[in-house]
């Protein structure tokens, strides 16, 4: 057999390695400028989150507008464990992933068993994120709408705290590498094939032997797991979480936009998308200082334009999209 299963695969791996290498090398240089490294870390974090979202929504086609539910739950899980019980946030991070995964499975059970798809599924995920927000806003033990503060303990690597910014950058980079690796692996596994088939045509997939429910649940669990871990990172990075921020629609949107802009269902897309959006966001915020929401307005316009004119995102422009050949009958 002399044919590659997917000719896009090798360029993707090379591209990913190159990007990761550049990012790794750039660390010390960025560190010399506090603003630069913070922006860069943010890019890495959202690239990571978007990649996690991608597993369920980009590859699996089940668009979630409520990933903030997993993000926020993850953030709160590790923070509660640390602040109330003194558990190291590294352990808490794992717990965060698992708790979020459980939530994901619950939501999946409620939605997938009832055949909720497309827009209805998206709205349902939105509803779940809202439910969590309402719960946490009214919960005394976790600080209600004031949220939780993580006490500064200085340089304590074992407690996931650093006085310098650079370690956070590399942790985010490691997380990004991890989830990108998972995505690459997924493309080779039966589950990856099933998800992409489901995205295209669920009914055809079912008739070809795919247990659609099971595949979706796996995707949901994995996606929620990684997103929850991202929540922990966020909490440890900013030392403060509150319900409106971590469970809000804005966060759900911030998580999914990079994948859409960069190219849903690709490995590199979320990374490119995150870079574009974070930089654009910073630029807009600086330029339109004083106009709350200006950056989201710009994002809204960009989202519409991207879907209308390049629905496969930036990666689509770079040849990753299944465009119809001009000569096809």
């Amino acid at each position: 057999m002399k044919v590659e299963v997917d000719p896009r695969r090798r360029p993707t791996i090379i591209g990913l390695l190159v990007i990761l290498a550049i990012l790794a090398a750039a660390g010390p240089f960025l560190a010399s400028n506090r603003y630069a490294i913070q922006v860069a870390t943010l890019i890495l974090l959202f690239a990571y989150l978007a990649s996690g979202w991608n597993i369920l929504s980009g590859y699996g086609g089940q668009f979630s507008f409520g990933h903030a539910a997993f993000f926020g739950l993850g953030a709160y899980t590790s923070t509660i464990l640390f602040v109330k019980f003194g558990v190291s946030p590294w352990v808490g991070m794992l717990a965060a992933g698992l708790v979020s995964a459980l939530l994901g499975l619950f939501i999946g059970l409620a939605c997938f068993r009832s055949g909720l798809r497309g827009a209805y599924f998206a709205l349902a995920t939105l509803a779940f994120a809202e439910i969590l927000r309402v719960i946490f806003v009214n919960w005394d033990w976790v600080g209600r709408s004031q949220g939780l503060l993580i006490q500064l303990v200085g340089d304590e690597p074992l407690l996931f705290q650093f006085t310098a910014r650079l370690p956070y950058y590399y942790i985010a980079l490691a997380l990004l590498a991890l989830v990108s690796g998972v995505a690459l692996l997924l493309e080779r596994l039966k589950l990856g094939y099933e998800l992409r088939a489901i995205k295209s045509n669920e009914v055809a997939a079912a008739v070809l032997g795919v247990d659609v429910f099971r595949a979706k649940m796996w995707a949901m669990g994995l996606s929620a797991f990684f997103t929850g871990i991202g929540g922990t990172f966020y909490a440890q990075y900013l030392y403060y979480i509150e319900p409106f921020q971590v469970f809000g629609v804005g966060m759900s949107v911030d998580i999914l936009l990079p994948a859409i802009i960069g190219g849903a269902g690709t490995v590199i897309g979320p990374i490119i998308g995150a870079a574009i959006l974070v930089l654009l966001g910073e630029g807009t915020r600086t330029f339109f200082r004083g106009f709350a929401g200006a950056d989201l307005m710009v994002f809204g316009v960009i989202l519409v334009l991207v879907i209308l004119f390049m629905p496969y995102g930036v990666m689509g422009l770079l040849g990753s999209a299944p465009k119809a050949k001009k000569e096809s009958a």
């Binding site: 929504s57 507008f65 497309g118 827009a119 209805y120 009214n138 989201l296 989202l303």
Partner: protein, 289 residues
């Protein structure tokens, strides 16, 4: 312990608001039914409708109810515009693209409102703000009652439109069988634009009638969209009578929830939503495939 009087009061108030939820859900169903598009900007248009009424009242002293005569046509136009410029281009696109486009529109409009009007909640005090009627021992506030009656009237108007007018029939034809509708000479593009426009106008008017007793802020649209969605899930996807029943049910449950402290008010509705998904996914009046 809470006495039945308070409970009845809460329930009544909730039911009245439920009429508005039903109206919002109807608009959502219309757009979805005719064009198969879930309009994420639906709630945003309601919010804008509220702001429109707010400014009409604050700047020109026009009460929201007569203001409907201005708001409805304005938002009909806006809806048609949005449909022509954006939505019509993605009618044949994969569903997730449609979702994202309307999300984009919603993001843009909501944050436009944020930029223009700021985040501070605003409310109006019309003439009848404190009026109330006693019905069987339960006190109903005039603004809520008015909204309920107006919602009923509009729902009735909407049904009349669908059943008895040529436009309504054309819409139903286009909804059921697009190719057939085209063959029969129905200008489907016009129908779509009008369906979107009417759905938008309906929800903007829902905003107008809700303003007398509801504060407006840029994020209020999200709340209503969520409620409309839960209504639709509860009542059955695609079912118009289901939207009505669902809306009233949600209103009732929310009314009961109002007896709870703080913003836990919304929690019973959410629990009902999750239960509904788990136990009866097709909704009350929907049908299982």
């Amino acid at each position: 312990m809470v006495d039945w009087q308070t409970v009845a009061q809460s329930v009544a108030g909730g039911l009245l608001l439920g009429g508005v939820y039903a109206l919002v859900a109807l608009g959502l169903n219309l757009i979805f039914g005719v064009m198969k598009v879930i309009n994420f900007a639906h709630g945003t248009f309601m919010m804008l409708g509220m702001y429109a009424s707010y400014w009409l009242f604050t700047l020109y002293g026009i009460d929201p109810y007569p203001g409907i005569l201005l708001v409805a046509p304005l938002f009909l136009l806006l809806g048609v515009l949005v449909e022509r410029v954006v939505v019509s281009r993605i009618l044949d696109a994969p569903e997730h693209d449609q979702l994202l486009v309307t999300l984009g529109v919603s993001l843009f409009l909501q944050n436009l409102a944020l930029a223009l009007f700021k985040a501070d909640p605003r409310s109006i005090r019309p003439l009848y703000a404190d009026w109330s009627f006693s019905v069987g021992g339960v006190v109903l506030s005039a603004p809520r009652l008015g909204a309920f009656l107006a919602a009923l009237a509009l729902a009735g108007l909407f049904f009349w439109l669908l059943r008895s007018t040529d436009l309504g029939k054309a819409m139903r034809a286009a909804a059921e069988e697009r190719e057939g509708a085209i063959l029969v000479g129905i200008d489907v593009r016009l129908i779509y634009a009008l369906a979107f426009g009417i759905g938008t106008a309906l929800v903007a008017v829902a905003g107008s009638i809700v303003l007398p007793f509801f504060t407006v802020s840029p994020s209020v649209g999200e709340t209503f969209l969520l409620m409309a969605f839960i209504t639709v899930v509860l009542g059955g996807l695609g079912s118009f009578p289901g939207a009505l029943i669902g809306g009233l049910l949600i209103g009732l449950v929310e009314g009961l929830g109002a007896l709870l402290p703080g913003s836990l008010r919304q929690l019973p509705v959410f629990i009902l939503f999750v239960l509904s998904l788990l136990v009866r996914p097709q909704g009350l009046l929907g049908s299982r495939q």
